[in-house]
């Protein structure tokens, strides 16, 4: 069961996010072997020579993509879970990929300027939102989130695809009837190990509402002084365009493109 929400946020997150993923890494990985079509299409449309950052890479299934052009893009996988990274390392050794272990708020700075970075932060925002215990002030939770998006969007030629978990009440809920609902969007999803069904891990999960992800992106863009919308025809402006967004297969996603005139 969940500990009291008065626990320190750090230990709460350690117990209900990081420790859970490390414990279930092998089983979790075996259920996530198929690239999500939207991310695969996003990567397939990037030109050769782009550098990718897969923040929350998990078992690293996106690192070798696009499969028809091996070695033409180079993607770095970041994750908080050591055990998932060990799996990523073993599975994709042949791919041109690197993995490093980072925390949500302790990501390494990328030192090189003039970098074109793509991102598919599939879990970053969810993890970020999981920082505060569910019953705490949700405004506080939300104001933390733009930092992640902001840092990722700070490079001029970045293209990003961000995917996050769904709001309850749709496909996800049907698949997990036993979720322990706490504060609307903040839930525990039980994870039962295949090899030992007596072991159940309650994985904390923030489910996004319609429009919530786009709103976070807008806040992040404003904090960075970026115009939101298509590239301006003239003037020396910096901005970010939301190329597409939506909901598919229990995930919200948004694709972004930075621009500068």
């Amino acid at each position: 069961m969940a500990p009291a929400a008065t626990d320190a946020p750090e230990s709460y997150e350690e117990t209900h996010v990081h420790d859970v993923y490390d414990a279930i890494a092998s089983h979790f990985s075996s259920t996530r072997y198929k690239p999500w079509p939207i991310i695969a299409a996003f990567l397939a449309n990037l030109q050769d020579g782009w550098v990718g950052l897969d923040s929350g890479t998990g078992n690293g299934k996106y690192l070798p993509l696009p499969l028809d052009r091996p070695g033409r893009q180079w993607t770095i996988g970041l994750d908080r879970s050591r055990n998932l990274l060990e799996i990523a390392r073993t599975c994709w050794r042949s791919g041109r990929a690197a993995r490093s272990r980072v925390g949500r708020r302790s990501r390494p700075r990328l030192a090189t300027r003039s970098f074109r970075v793509i991102m598919c932060a599939r879990t970053g925002l969810r993890n970020l939102n999981s920082y505060d215990p569910p019953s705490s002030d949700t405004r506080k939770t939300k104001t933390r989130s733009p930092a992640l998006v902001g840092r990722r969007l700070s490079r001029t030629r970045t293209r990003a695809d961000i995917c996050v978990g769904d709001a309850p009440g749709r496909a996800f809920k049907a698949k997990h009837p036993h979720e322990l609902e706490r504060d609307g969007q903040d839930v525990f999803v039980p994870w039962v190990l295949a090899e030992d069904s007596t072991q159940v891990f309650n994985r904390y999960y923030h489910m996004f509402d319609d429009g919530e992800l786009a709103a976070l992106v807008s806040v992040a863009a404003e904090e960075l002084g970026l115009v939101i919308g298509p590239a301006a025809a003239e003037g020396s402006l910096k901005g970010v365009e939301i190329v597409q967004g939506g909901w598919e297969r229990s995930n919200h996603f948004v694709e972004l493109r930075r621009w500068q005139t």
Partner: protein, 123 residues
């Protein structure tokens, strides 16, 4: 995998450590060489993104002196092959990467760099 292509991107991110925090210095490293497919187009595209002096310095720290101090204007096959080896075939499996400024240690274990910081070190 800590290869020099990755190392060339990593800077210290401890709170307040914002200058002279790159490149990280290697200590007590175990290196393994693994062949990988030579892809000159990838290299040509990647060269403008490299911090050249940092790469040359890191390669020399690991005992590879094949790269010139200055990036040559002529990118011939011999040069590209040397660059390919340095960037993509030298794997640091174990060791420590140390920030030249604040001396923070980032351990590398089983080829995975641990860039995690403690709560009080995060900016």
């Amino acid at each position: 995998m800590v290869r020099l292509i990755t190392h060339n991107l990593l800077a210290c991110h401890v709170k307040g450590c914002t200058s002279n925090n790159f490149p990280l210095e290697f200590k007590d490293v175990q290196v393994v060489l693994r062949e990988s497919e030579f892809n000159p187009d990838f290299l040509r595209g990647f060269i403008p993104k490299l911090e050249w002096p940092a790469l040359v310095g890191a390669a020399r720290e690991l005992g590879d002196t094949s790269l010139p101090d200055q990036l040559p204007e002529m990118l011939d096959d011999d040069f590209l092959k040397a660059l390919h080896h340095v960037l993509l075939e030298i794997h640091v499996e174990e060791g420590i990467m140390i920030c030249p400024n604040c001396k923070h240690n980032y351990p590398v274990s089983n080829g995975i760099p641990n860039m995690l910081l403690a709560e009080h070190e995060i900016g």
